[in-house]
Amino acid sequence: MPLITYLRKSFDHFWLVVIVFNLSGCLSAEAQGILTGSNVAEFQLGNIPDTDPKDQSSLYDQLNLRYSINPLSLKIRIGQFYPSDNNGRSYTKLLQYNVHYTTPKLNLNVGNLYSTLGRGLLLRTYEIPGAIWETRGYRVRYGFYRDLHGIDIGYRIRNAEIKVLRGRVLDVALPPTLDNGIERRPDLVEGAQFSYQFSKHRAGIIYMRHNNASVNTSYSSLFYSGNFGENLSVYGELANRINTAGHLISFTDTSGYAAYASINYVYNKLGISVELKDYRNMSIGAGISDPPSLVKEHAYRLLNRVIHIPLLTDESGYQVELFYGFKNNGMLTLNNSMAKNEIVPGDASIFREFFVGYQLPVGKHISGSVFVDYAKDPLVNEDDRYTSGLSVNVNHSKLSSLLETELQYTKRTLAETSTFVNAYFAYTLSKGSTFSISAILELSNDPFLVEANKHQNYYPGFSFSFRPDNHNQILVFVGRRRGGPACNSGVCYEVLDFEGVEIRLTSRF
C-alpha cells in the first residue's frame, strides 16, 4: 500500500493535476504517446420512494485515464461522490492505478487489475462496466468492481504459459469512504497457473494460497480443454482445498472442492452447450471465487431480477443451452438448468428453469422477440414462476418504435401460499441510436414490496437518450424506478428503488 498512500497524500489538489494532465496529454499526444479516457457523471435529485428527504441530490463522477506508449500503458481511475447532505459520505479518491507492460512473450500488470485462474473456480476479479452501486446501509455511490491490488505476470514460451499473481482482493460491498480501521481488501491471494498446449489440447495446473484474518488456506486445481475436430470441444476443471492433513484431493462432506465440465457441439447453424457442476465449501474469503453459475443469464427485465444465484457451500447441477439460427436471421434459444442445494443432509432443494426464446425479423421493417420461461426455486420459496414477454420493433420512414411487454406470475409459499404478478411495459421512439425517448411502466403486487394499505406498486417513468456524437451520451430518467437484483455478465447485485430525476453524462475521448 505505500505507493497508493503516497499518491493519495500527493493528490491533495489532485483534481488540478488531473485537468492539467488531461489537457496537456491531449496536446502532446502525437509526440509522446496517446492519452485516452472516459468519464461517467451522474446527477440524482430524489431518493428511495417514501424516504425523506425526497429532494436529496448527489453528484457521482468516475474518470478513467489511460496513457499508452507501446509497449507500456498507465491507467488511473478517480472517483467522486457528493451528496447534498454529505454526512461523511462524500469522497474524492484515486481509486485505481495500473501499469501494464506487454510484449509477445511477457504480460506484466501492476496495480489494480482483473485476473482469472482457470475458469474462476478459485479466483476471478472483474468489473461491471458502467454500473454505479449504492447500498441501503451506506448510501454511498461507487463503481461495481472487485479488483486485485498487486501484481500479475504472464509469460509464454512456445506452447507453455505460466501466470503468477499476488495481491489483495477488494470486497466490493465496502464503499471507498471506509478507510479508517476497516480493511476493504481482507483477502490476500498468491497464485500460479501453468498450462501447456499440445495440438488442439491444453492442460494446466493451478496452485493458490488464500490468507485473511481468520484463515490461511491452500488450493489446487487441474484443468483441461480440447477440440475434437471442428465441431466438438470440451473443458474440465477440478479445484480442491488442500486440507490440513495435506490431502491434495478430497471429496468428503467437510472438504472443499469444485468440479466443472462443459461440452460444446456445433453443426451448421445449430449450437449446443452442456455444462455440469458440483461445488462444495468453495466460497472463498469475501467472495473471490466465481465459478460458472450454470444458470441462464437473462437480459429481459423481469427475468433478470430473479436469476438464481449459486450457493457455493453446496450446489450441484447442470445447464443445457441450444441455439439455432434460421436463414431469415431468426434465432431460437432453448435452455434448461437445474441446481441442487443440500446444505442440511437429506433436505435438498432443487431449482429448475426452462426457457424458450425466439428473436426474429419479419420483413425489412419489423422485428421482434418472444419468450416463455418457467422456474421453481425453493431457496427463495418460489413454488412456480411463469414469465412471458413480447417485443415488437417497427421501422417508420425516419423513426422506429419499440414496444416491450413482460408478465410474470409467481406462487410463493412461506407460512402460507401467496400469488402475485409483476408486469413491465415500455414504448420507445428512436431515431437510429442517436435519439430515443421511452415511456416505462412497471407494476407489482408482490407482498414483499407492497405496503399493507396498498394493492399494488406502480413504477412509471420516462427516459430520454441523446448521442450528439460518437463520444458523448446524455441519459435522463424521470419518475419512479423499481430496484431489486440486477445481473450483468453473470454477476448479480442489488439496485435500490429510486424516485426523482437522474441525469447521466457519459463521454469517451
Binding site: 483534481w15 499526444a29 499508452s68 449446443i272 421501422n395 463521454s507
Partner: protein, 163 residues
C-alpha cells in the same frame, strides 16, 4: 464548492478534447482456444472490433448485419473481429452462439476485460473502427435496425479519406 467546480471542470475537460484511442499488441484466446495477437489479424486498412455478449439482445440483431458488412468490406482491406465480453461463467456458450448466428470472422475472448478496459467499453454492442496503428476512428454504441447503414457509411467515408 471547490469540489463541485472540480467536478464540472473535469467533465468539461473530458468533453473538450478528442484525442483518439489506441490498441496495442494484445493477445487473447479465440473460441477454439488458440492464442491470437490482434496485430496479426488486423485489417490492411481498417479493423472493426465488435464487442458483444451471448446475453445481449441487440447483439442478436446487429451480428447478422455485421457479417454482411464484413463480407462486403473484406476485399477492401477492412477486417472485422468479434470481441466476446462474456465472463468465464458463459464461456461454454460462446462458440455455439457464434456458430449459430453465423459469425464468419475471428472471435476473441476478453476474459479479463483487458480490451474492454483499454477502450472504456460500458455497453453492448459497441463497435470500434481502428486504423492501422490501432487508433479509434469511429465508435458506435448500441444497435437498432437501420444502424447498419450508419456503420457502412462511416466505413465508406474512412475508405474514401484513405484514398
Amino acid at each position: 464548492m471547490n469540489r463541485f467546480l472540480a467536478f464540472f471542470l473535469l467533465t468539461l475537460s473530458s468533453l473538450s478534447y478528442v484525442c483518439g484511442q489506441t490498441a496495442y499488441q494484445i493477445e487473447l484466446l479465440d473460441i477454439n482456444g488458440n492464442t491470437v495477437n490482434i496485430d496479426a489479424i488486423k485489417g490492411e486498412k481498417f479493423t472493426v472490433l465488435d464487442f458483444w455478449a451471448t446475453w445481449c439482445r441487440p447483439c442478436i440483431n446487429s451480428i447478422p448485419e455485421l457479417v454482411k458488412l464484413s463480407d462486403k468490406f473484406q476485399e477492401k482491406g477492412v477486417q472485422f473481429i468479434g470481441i466476446n465480453a462474456d465472463s468465464p461463467r458463459n464461456r461454454s456458450k460462446v462458440k455455439p452462439f457464434a456458430s449459430s448466428i453465423g459469425i464468419n470472422y475471428p472471435v476473441l475472448l476478453d476474459f479479463d476485460q483487458q480490451l474492454q478496459s483499454d477502450f472504456f467499453i460500458d455497453g453492448f454492442p459497441t463497435l470500434l473502427v481502428l486504423d492501422g496503428k490501432g487508433k479509434v476512428l469511429f465508435t458506435h454504441v448500441g444497435f437498432i435496425q437501420g444502424d447498419e447503414k450508419t456503420i457502412e457509411d462511416a466505413i465508406n467515408n474512412l475508405l474514401k479519406k484513405k484514398l
